[in-house]
Amino acid sequence: TVGAVAVDEAGHVAAATSTGGLTAKRWGRIGDSPLIGAGTYADDRAAAISCTGSGEHFIRLGLAHELCARLRLCGDELSIVEQDLIAELGRIGGKGGFIAVTPEGDARWAFNTPGMYRGRVSHDLEAQIAIFGDE
């Protein structure tokens, strides 16, 4: 699975996710990536988020929408919400992570796997690339 989130000069956010799914998937199995609110969500009142991992768990949590709702309705910081949701994901046996950015430019990634292919760049931050959890 691959994904991107962005906030532009005008403060608008957007998210996109694309995947080949799971090797040997059967019976028309679909994961979270194409389900709006599960693996992909964007709302200028909250954030843009793109997820990757064990899709069934992201679907059950409605994780992408849950993150945006927490920011919008509870006024929580992204740094708090992302940790809460990764912990929640782990509690139901899920594995994976997500990237998220707010209209104010708060940009974070979170994951509970050993690694995640990830990168970020800003108007005022050089491009950063990482794969392993300790980078």
Binding site: S18, T23, I30, F132
Partner: protein
């Protein structure tokens, strides 16, 4: 107000010292290319929507990642892709599931968002919509790469391992 772009190429069991050097280099090169594709749009004052589509298209074309060209095989040895895109300005969204013949599934998702009354189209219907709307088509051979075929064969050789229990590749 500045701009920011973030990307991911999937989370998993990649550990330092276990990932082959060639795969490490290929992954980093692909991520860099995707960041640059999206940043170029944002740097010029372009929209977040255009930037995320551009970055994901680069990753869809890169066999190092599980999407588009790097997609995995189904049990039956076919390639099926899923994608979604969403615009924070008005919460407009488009998505496709189980599509088999569009080179850039994220662009098909955007076409669904921009030029249909729907949010999610799937399978043969979504493939037909793609053709009718002139998106670039690609045959199964474009998506099929040997390493993904090997992974499928490995999983099918383990009859006890139901397709999801291993969650090994994807």
């Amino acid at each position: 107000m500045g701009w920011t772009l973030m990307i991911h190429g999937g989370a998993g069991s990649m550990r330092r010292g276990q990932l082959a050097e060639a795969d490490d280099a290929a992954g980093r090169a692909g991520l860099s290319a995707a960041l640059e594709a999206g940043a170029a749009i944002l740097r010029d004052g372009g929209s977040a929507l255009d930037a995320v589509e551009a970055a994901v298209k680069v990753l869809e074309d890169d066999p190092a990642f599980n999407a588009g060209r790097g997609s995995v095989f189904t049990w039956d040895g076919r390639i099926e892709c899923d994608a979604a895109i969403m615009d924070g300005r008005d919460r407009n969204a488009g998505a496709v599931a189980g599509v088999t013949a569009t080179r850039h599934p994220v662009s098909l998702a955007r076409e669904v968002m921009a030029n249909s009354a729907h949010v999610l189209l799937s399978a043969a219907g979504a493939d037909a919509f793609s053709k009718e709307h002139g998106l670039e088509q690609a045959d199964q051979a474009w998506f099929a790469i040997p390493e993904r075929r090997r992974q499928l064969d490995e999983m099918k050789a383990r009859p006890e391992g139901a397709f999801d229990s291993g969650m090994k590749y994807g």
